[in-house]
């Protein structure tokens, strides 16, 4: 470390005098960065089966090089690269790149482990190894950016100095209007912030929702200016304090940065940690999170939005990869030959030693090194990687063709096709929209589902054996074709369905779907543990239901039930009022959930009454004050409003609750006289056969009769 310090002081004094003194006194510590070279998801599957995402070429340069260049240009002096999937390949790439040369101003340390399964694991490991000494930049290996974060860094340090380390993270956002091409729809966020301090008050992924809820308490903490913004693009660059790693260790359930941000915001009052944001107007910062983003980032790159990271800059300093730049954003590497009559319309990047035949038409495309392209080929929004052979009369639109793939004559690739490594297609066929072809059979996937992060050579050897056993279907890939089709329909389990959707990051269907999604988890048979984005209240309801069920099955004493519900209440941050209402609802719905919705009212009552008796102590524990009784009753009313056919049972249930001393007479009467706000609830009251003037003791007698009648 002493050597690095010395190096810095020398360069500070010499060449770059303007960097000089003031920066040096501020940064006693060199700036560090944590680069996560793994996405921990399978969005680029099956392409990433052969090469990790960080090494996928974007404009003929591996994605991780863009990230490292960004870090280096912001003045990061030490970068820890964490790799998991195909770590050895990433390591090999980095060791041969300019980042590991002795003269590199940014020292790159590569840390590999097969144990990492999320960002949380990486940061916990950072904490365990205590690698970080000061503020650091946290970034994924697939972020392309030229944003100047020095002002954000400065503000972050200033805040930390002023507020005694309260601020733990500064997230970088770029202003960009909703629906902009560089915005990833899955990452759309809505952020409530304090305008003065730039503090994040609320952070929510919109996920195509149209209705959003903000907790009121965020508007009650002193500041008088708030902004709720939806015009922000999350650059996935964050400046973190060293505590972030510790916080990840403390909260072992944090998986992603999203979990972390939500956790920090929810527990802000307890832990006292704050998260800030920095909004930049210019610059470019996008994470390549799916193929649609790959498409838009690639074309932005060629259109020079990421200047100075342009293709002709050759910033990775690799020999033989320089290219020339000419009008209409046409870039040509060395040794490119272009046949007679071939046109490169605009935004075209062609790697070195690529041969293109006659009468081709190419626009908005990126072609890698050492490719051969035949005559009369049309390429529009095509991303062709290295060593690809394309025969004559081929048409490709908005598709991805990976290394060493071959496309024979008269093949047409419709939109959003993906040809993974070494695939051969054709001749004479047309691939329908969204076809994914890979040398790996989709069935292999199911077998090795669990160990998706297994070491890469094992995976390759395994797959080769498999490939030989299975036959290629000429109807799918052509007579001379090699490869298997990956289809959404051919894969039955939900996870893979998600993957095939995600390759191109399908547009999220706006409203109807997301709402139905919300109601799904109410289904008690659904064993899926709800995602953390789901509303806490619903999760809580499910958990209460589970608790009560277990209580019945295992005959757990009511003290323990109460204890469990209480702990759930804190885990999901539920108010006492909500607990009461949810409890009431769960109990009332219990017979339906056990026996199905077709119960008759008398069956329902018969099932419910013993349950009520059993759980009465639990109710009594929560329902104490008059207000509690009213809350309980309103939940009761809500339930019966939904179950119109069971109104007959209502009286009996209410009566029973009164007898069990869950509800008091006074409050029942008060509810009866006041509550009705809608027509339906008025009707409900009428139906009950009670008039407001009739004392409850009378009705008690009536109901005594009723119960006797049932017994009789």
């Amino acid at each position: 470390m002493a050597a690095r310090g010395g190096k810095q002081s020398r360069s500070g004094a010499g060449l770059s005098g303007r960097k000089g003194a003031d920066e040096q006194e501020e940064e006693e510590q060199p700036l560090q960065a944590v680069l996560v070279a793994d996405s921990f998801n399978r969005r680029f599957f099956p392409v990433t089966k052969d090469q990790p995402r960080a090494l996928l070429p974007l404009g003929n340069v591996a994605m991780i090089d863009y990230t490292l260049e960004f870090l280096t240009s912001t003045g990061v002096q030490e970068t820890f690269v964490f790799c998991c999937w195909m770590a050895s390949e990433i390591k090999e790439h980095l060791l041969s790149s300019k980042w590991c040369r002795q003269s590199s101003p940014n020292t790159v340390h590569i840390i590999t482990s097969e144990q990492y399964r999320s960002l949380g694991d990486v940061l916990r490991d950072v904490d365990a190894k205590s690698l970080l000494r000061s503020d650091f930049v946290l970034i994924y290996g697939d972020v392309v950016s030229n944003i100047d974060i020095s002002s954000a860094l400065h503000a972050h340090r200033h805040r930390r100095k002023m507020d005694k380390n309260i601020s733990v993270m500064t997230m970088i956002f770029k202003e960009s209007s909703p629906g902009h091409k560089s915005r990833c729809e899955e990452d759309d966020v809505i952020v409530a912030m304090d305008s003065k301090s730039q503090r994040i008050l609320h952070y929510q992924k919109t996920q195509g929702l149209k209705r959003l809820q903000f907790p009121m308490n965020i508007f009650h903490n002193g500041s008088d200016e708030f902004e709720i913004r939806h015009d922000l693009l999350d650059c996935h660059i964050s400046i973190c304090s060293p505590q972030v790693a510790e916080l990840f260790t403390d909260n072992f359930d944090y998986q992603s940065r999203n979990d972390f941000v939500r956790g920090m915001l929810v527990n802000e009052e307890i832990l006292g940690n704050q998260i800030h944001m920095h909004v930049t107007k210019d610059g470019y910062g996008v994470r390549v999170s799916n193929l649609l983003m790959y498409d838009s980032v690639s074309s932005d790159l060629v259109r020079r939005w990421v200047y100075p990271l342009t293709p002709e800059a050759n910033f990775i300093d690799q020999k033989g990869l320089s290219c020339t730049y000419s009008r209409h954003n046409v870039y040509r590497g060395s040794g490119v030959s272009l046949g007679h009559g071939s046109q490169m319309e605009e935004n075209v990047l062609i790697g070195s030693d690529t041969n293109i035949g006659a009468n081709c038409y190419i626009c908005n495309s990126v072609i890698g090194n050492n490719c051969t392209i035949g005559d009369n080929v049309t390429l529009d929004h095509a991303y062709i990687w290295n060593n690809v052979h394309i025969a004559s009369n081929v048409m490709i639109s908005q598709s991805l063709v990976c290394d060493k793939a071959e496309i024979k004559e008269w093949v047409k690739l419709n939109k959003q096709c993906v040809l993974a490594y070494n695939v051969v297609i054709g001749p004479n066929m047309s691939l329908p929209e969204g076809t994914v072809v890979s040398m790996h059979h989709p069935d292999e996937e199911e077998e090795e589902d669990d160990d998706e992060f297994m070491s890469d050579d094992a995976a390759v050897g395994h797959s080769k054996d498999k490939a030989k056993l299975k036959v290629f279907n000429p109807a799918e890939v052509g007579v001379g074709g090699r490869g298997y089709i990956w289809k959404a329909s051919s894969l039955d389990d939900t996870e893979d369905e998600e993957i095939s959707q995600c390759l191109w990051g399908l547009v999220l269907n706006p409203d109807p779907e997301s709402e139905s999604e919300d109601s799904e988890p109410e289904d008690p048979d659904d064993p899926v543990i709800p995602s953390p984005e789901m509303e806490d209240v619903k999760v809580f309801q499910l958990e209460v239901l589970g608790t009560l069920q277990r209580g019945l099955e295992e005959n757990i004493s009511f003290d323990n039930l109460v204890l469990e519900i209480n702990s759930l209440k804190y885990a999901y941050n539920i108010t006492l009022k909500e607990v009461m209402q949810i409890l009431t609802r769960v109990v009332l719905e219990y017979p339906f959930q056990q026996q199905g919705p077709q119960l008759t009212p008398s069956q329902y009552v018969g099932l419910l009454l013993p349950l009520l008796k059993k759980w009465a102590p639990v109710f009594k524990n929560y329902v104490k004050r008059a207000q509690d009784h009213l809350d309980c009753l309103s939940a009761f009313e809500e339930h019966f409003l939904e179950q119109e056919s069971h109104w007959a049972a209502m009286v009996k249930v209410l009566m029973n609750m009164y007898q069990l001393e869950i509800l008091e007479e006074e409050t029942i009467l008060r509810w009866f006289s006041q509550g009705a706000t809608t027509d339906k609830s008025r009707q409900l009251r009428k139906n009950q056969g009670l008039s407001p003037t009739q004392p409850l003791s009378d009705s008690e007698q009536i109901h005594d009769h009723d119960t006797h009648a049932i017994k009789g």
Binding site: L15, P105, P308
Partner: protein
Amino acid sequence: MRRRHNHPDVVPNHFHRQHTHTQTPSCPVSPLISSRFYTTTMPAPDKEIDLTERIEAFLSDLKRGGSGTGPLRGSAEMARETTALLRRIAAQARWSNAGDLMEIIRTEGRRMTAAQPSETTVGNMIRRVLKIIREEYARSRGSSEETDQQESLHKLLTSGGLSEENFRQHFAALKANVIEAINELLTELEGTTDNIKMQALEHIHSNEVIMTIGRSRTVEAFLKDAARKRKFHVIVAECAPFCQGHKMATSLSEAGIETTVITDAAIFAVMSRVNKVIIGTQTVLANGGLRAVNGTHTLALAAKHHSTPLIVCAPMFKLSPQVRSLCLPARGEILSKLITLFISNIGGHAPSYIYRLMSELYHPEDHEL
């Protein structure tokens, strides 16, 4: 307006000689001056690592130049930094004769120019240093400067220039001489803006209306210097989309100059009122043309239409032996016939005279690095 130079040799060639050898360099370069002496005390391998490190840092700075993330700077600073780095190479690299040194500088120079093709200043400074080495070598060999200067067309054709073999002779004093000459070059670079702005009063008269476009540090200094004595009105075209003109206008009005900002579209309409157009440039091409910020061509055509004189403030280090300009975004080429006068740090020149300056500054063999 057009000046004729019937005696080209009267113009101070080797203007860097006009500073006497005894002059001490000014402050900003002083820490670099001392490097010459500390080279002798440092162990060799460390020295080379240090040198490559500096070159790499400079290269990556160049690549990031002009962006939000990189250090933003003017071409004057870029010229100084390049020259300082070249002096460091001359001082620290291993070479025994002029040929070796030239080869080293050429190799590094090629990388530097490739790193940022739009920044011609870097290439220009490399050519200047190469020329210095040639001259110092020639002096060491004993051939006088005067004879070298009077290379006639005939001599050029017959000898084919000094071939590389001739630079193989070893001279002990060469290193010191080269570094001394580069120091003089640095001193000259320090004073360029001052030299240009000193001429302001000859060109700007009272109550004139001057038009400029975008922001040029040289033009800014030029106008501000004139404003000390004269009252005049400046119209600044904003130079969309980056609108550097706004910054320029603010700066000028702070100096007490009456300033108006116009949109680029209004250039032609306003031109009829303008007495003089004064612009800066990124590069002066060998044919007397310019490569300047987009919009300048519009301005130049409008000025031609109204026969308004167009004056270009360009220090000598912007003079590039390129004839055709590269395709660069946000830059346009302006033909020499649209330009009335160049004002450089050594005086005013007509565009037709640029070729002569070029041959004085750079050796013909160095035009292609």
